[in-house]
Symmetry: C2
Subunit: 291 residues, 2 copies
């Protein structure tokens, strides 16, 4: 068995990957390799048995190009902590008006204003996987109550209550974080009907843009100038239609992308290759959900 | 016994205060009142027995104006959660470059860059009172290790290690939060000597400007353009000397000042008046430390 990394990495990294996976690992050499490890570029070679992604999500892969025998494993949870950090960077910079205060003072205007304390408020999380869980942990440390909506409930001590429906999340939370995977079932999941239930102050998207119905959200933001949409993703990124709504804060899909998290994620992916070879792969993708 | 609130509040608030303190409480009526509750304006009347601050700190009070018999109680810890939230709003907006990304995208530039994941890094806290403790809790939720320097160690489960000296905090942390009270002993506490030990990336001040030696910090920031000073306070605020160092982010002393936190803090102050009347006041100020 041989694996190949479909990314530009040095031989030192490949060596570490080989140690983690327990088989030879080379770089960008898919011909004859049994396993491909990478972000988005994979090749349907005759020998291919496993595709292991370094990214947490797999919605960008065109599964139809690959024969049924190829197993796909995601790296779900790999970037959870750093994505959750980004979610709270978006939230806290808004509640505490950091960008406005900082630029005002820099230009000579010292003007106090109230900030928004989250202590005692409720965070609702749509999709309680790795990212949701990390967000819950941070929210609790800020004194927030946590409400979650998910298919598979976890008893991790961070959730105060599981909601029976996404409508419950929207109606009972002052801050909502969207942390669902993008599948055929979650496309346009957050739509006009769901947004109408929301009476809080902030909606955050650190997942994929298309989980939110674009026109519905833009209309919602126009009609509710006091509500904020904080998003690391945007429809049709990187070709973003301007102007952005006044009550939005957008970052260029960078959540989780740090030097530290990338190398951690690669090693985690290689560790799962080892588990696959041992017959116990984690995060096996149910391809039907993406077709 | 009668208390008076030295702040512009309505009679509904005074009524709530009276319920919490267990004695009549009126508004801005110090003549003949035994107790004054307020932020910074207090009057040394002949009847005055107790000054209870709503603010957490008492460094702004001119203790020399009051006879020795007057007891001063601070409201230490009252704003801890919201001040800690502000500290992390400053930190996360910088590590995740929220202000830059947001303004770039808004003006048509979609440019990715690495963010800085805090997971696994060390937060050093100078002064482990209520604010330090709330900061430690948030840091742990982000996967950080916590190092603290304090006179009175607490076993709260949030501190990985207590440092023997402030030098240890500086040399062993990648992020340092200053959360000391300003007393005669802590004025200019963070000086050139201490700054020289720092090899991390971010220093945060959510306490008082004068805990940091001004010229030493400005020199340090000039000499270390890659390091950041994030501060809610500034020397001689609100008259701030411009230009600010490029590698600083400053907010106008707003940490903790939210609608929610102010009313919580006032009720907490009134609760301590009740404890004083019961002979068990908390947070009695050792005035010698401030002379």
């Amino acid at each position: 068995m041989r694996a190949t990394i479909m990314l530009e990495v040095g031989s030192d990294i490949a060596e570490k990957c080989s140690a983690a996976a327990g088989i030879p690992v080379d770089v960008k050499n898919p011909d004859g390799a049994d396993i491909q490890i990478g972000m988005r570029e994979f090749v349907p070679t005759p020998d291919l048995k496993l595709v292991q992604t370094v990214s947490a999500g797999v919605d960008h892969i065109n599964f139809r190009n690959f024969p049924d025998r190829v197993v796909f494993c995601s790296n779900a949870g790999a970037f959870s902590d750093s994505v959750a950090q980004h979610a709270f960077a978006l939230i806290l910079s808004s509640t505490n008006r950091i960008c406005r205060f900082s630029s005002e003072i820099r230009s000579g205007t010292y003007r106090k204003d109230l900030v928004h304390t989250l202590y005692g408020e409720t965070l609702g999380i749509l999709g309680y996987g790795g990212i949701g869980q990390s967000c819950a942990r941070i929210a609790r440390s800020l004194g927030m109550k946590v409400l979650a909506y998910t298919r598979s409930r976890k008893n991790d001590g961070f959730v105060d209550r599981y909601a029976d429906s996404p409508e419950d999340i929207m109606s009972d939370s002052s801050v909502v974080i969207i942390a669902l995977p993008l599948t055929s079932a979650t496309r346009n999941f957050v739509d006009r009907r769901l947004l109408k239930k929301f009476h809080g102050s902030i909606i955050v998207n650190v997942a994929r843009a298309d989980i939110v119905a674009r026109e519905d959200m833009l209309e919602f933001l126009r009609e509710n100038p006091g509500m904020l949409f904080l998003s690391d993703v945007w429809w049709n990124e990187p070709d973003i239609e301007l102007p952005l709504p006044e009550n939005s804060v957008v970052t260029p899909h960078v959540a989780g992308i740090s030097q530290e998290s990338m190398s951690t994620a690669l090693m985690r992916a290689c560790g799962n290759v080892r588990k696959y070879l041992d017959g116990k792969p984690e995060h096996v993708v149910n391809i039907k959900e993406y077709l």
